[in-house]
Amino acid sequence: MKKLVTLLLMALMVTGLHAQTKSELPNVTLKNLNGKDVNIAKLNNNGNPIVITFWATWCGPCIKEHNALNDVYQDWKDETGVKIYAVSIDDSRSTAKVKPTVEGKGWDFDVLLDVNSDLKRAMNVSNPPHTFLFDGNGKLVYQHTGYIEGGEEDLYEEILKVAKTKKKK
């Protein structure tokens, strides 16, 4: 009996460990700015955290948030290895403006186009900006809606909690 209990416990631990590695990134395919398909469920940042932000060219607070994120992005990458995917929910009326806007503003994020709002629906985003943080295993650890000046600092604190490498400047 003891053996059985141990076995079961071990099995639970194994499945438990398994549960920890399951990804919560939805199985939705979007295009990047070069027209390549990117499956969100397969995003992989070598075990480093992944941030997914939702924005649109017509959303003022989103532009502010992304300008602020862009200012600190290089430092964040150096210190934690984090990768930011900025998902544009612009529809056909403004899709053509996304790339010129991103380049014109000099943003360094990986930008994805959610023209049909598939990812927006799958991740239950009501209003942009909306930010999600996934740890290196694809587990959702933090999300935040809206942007208040300085909001990127809080996001960074959350990133530091799950980053596997923390190189201080």
Partner: protein, 572 residues
Amino acid sequence: MLALALTFGFRASAQSFLENSQVSGSFQTDAQYYMLDKGIDINDLKGKQLGINGFGKVNYTNGNFSAGMRFEAFLPEMNGFRSELNGVGLANFFATYDNGFIGMTVGDIYDQFGSGLVFRTYEEWSLGMDNALRGARVVLRPTQGVTLKAVYGRQRYFWAPYLERDFNTDDYRGIVRGFDADWDLNQSIPALNESQFKMSLGGSFVSKKQADQSSFYNIPENVSAAAARINLGYGNWAFSTEYAYKINDPSAINNFIYKEGRALLSSLSYSQKGFGAVLQVKRTDNMSFKSMYTGKQNDLDINFIPPINYTHTHSLPSMYTYSTQPNGEMAAQLQVNYTIPKGTALGGKYGTKLAFNMSQVNDIVRDSVAYGNQIGLNQPGTLGYTSKFFAVSDHRFFRDINFEVDKKISKDWHLTAQYINLYYDIETIEGHAGAPVVKANIGFMDVTYKINKKQSLRLELQGLWENEVHKGYEYDESEKKDYQKRGDWAAALLEYSINPHWSFSIADKWNYGNPVEEYRDHYFTGTVTYIHDATRVMLSAGRQSEGVVCVGGVCRTVPASSGVSLTVSTSF
């Protein structure tokens, strides 16, 4: 031992099934409590003291399988939303299996072919807009880079039942069928995988089958539309175009003419780090396509004609937002974004972001149909008119020229300023018959000051100066209502935010230059917002001016109101 292994195996698989299950969802409630306000002419609430719009949605996913539903409640709907929304029910549900090769969905489908010129179903909560297709969809991806889609179903029409026609509400909805093929050469031809040259092609075919309920006109029972598109890219350049054609489709929107419809949408862009430019042109002619020929406004739209003008988000410029004219328009738009690099004289320490945008929309040219000029333009039951493809009418609907500077001045100060020159044919766009065109200069300034790591202040100042309306225009006493919101405006907003949770703002909009003296009102509002992770609570009190709320180019008019409103939203 075998039993044990079996039990264990079952346990493990059941457990992994459960472990792979994910439930997520979101809730939102918007409520407005209305109050009488003689100052802005609200002398009667018309029996509505409270309006509540709410939804809750739940998604379940497990590997390749996902399903979801959305419950909606309008008890009753808030002012400015269509009264047909009044009610409670399960508005949307679906189940999908997608293994990458084949994807099948039954239930309510949101999808779009190309840029949507012949097919797009979507949902926009803030507009009360939902034209989901209830039926089935199959998506096939036979090889890398090739996607084939087929859809079949009936569209959502507020709360009308899907199973039988309800002739009491004039529900003549037809069935929508569509097919789309998309071929991305770069993904399907290995030699082109990493090429600088990009190319993809697509084509779609959509038809509706509707019953002819008219005793007056001979309504076609099958109406089809087709579109073809191409996207090209080379290095920093990108070009894309889509052309759509629809056979005769007499409807309430086009005044029951039997003309074909056409649309063309093209864009050319160039972008490199720090610089981006895009030029878009559009021509649409009689392209309203609805699954019910008696449909009005945005009801049961099968397609989507995107407006391509700049979308303003500040309160004064967004008072005059353009909405697409379904019966025809010629439009062009140019946008340039440039960042003056860091470390230069004008760029300063952080760089300076500049943006220029110009857009204009004119009518198409319509000529009498060939069989004798005695038939007037656009007569019901005729071919309506002929139209030269490249001819532009002198009738201008809209023009917007704007220039924006966005500058981080120091670690603590940030400035955004914009100048807008606007031309807005309010008679055509909002149907205010006889009202003179709005020609306005608009300016705004948005200054943010970071007090410390947690607190910040934001001040927004706006002015709108209308050029002609009050210079000697004699308004008719009976038309006075058309002059609500006209003339000069000033607006100010002060916001104090404490990161990450709180934000407090007070704002005033003042129509100080209205040609009608009694309309020179203040619209004062106070707002408190609390955000915790993915939960947002917003409470505001004050006056709301009459205006148009537009999202994604689709608009709804919001009547003036006074009272308290609350929004609570969360997602998990």
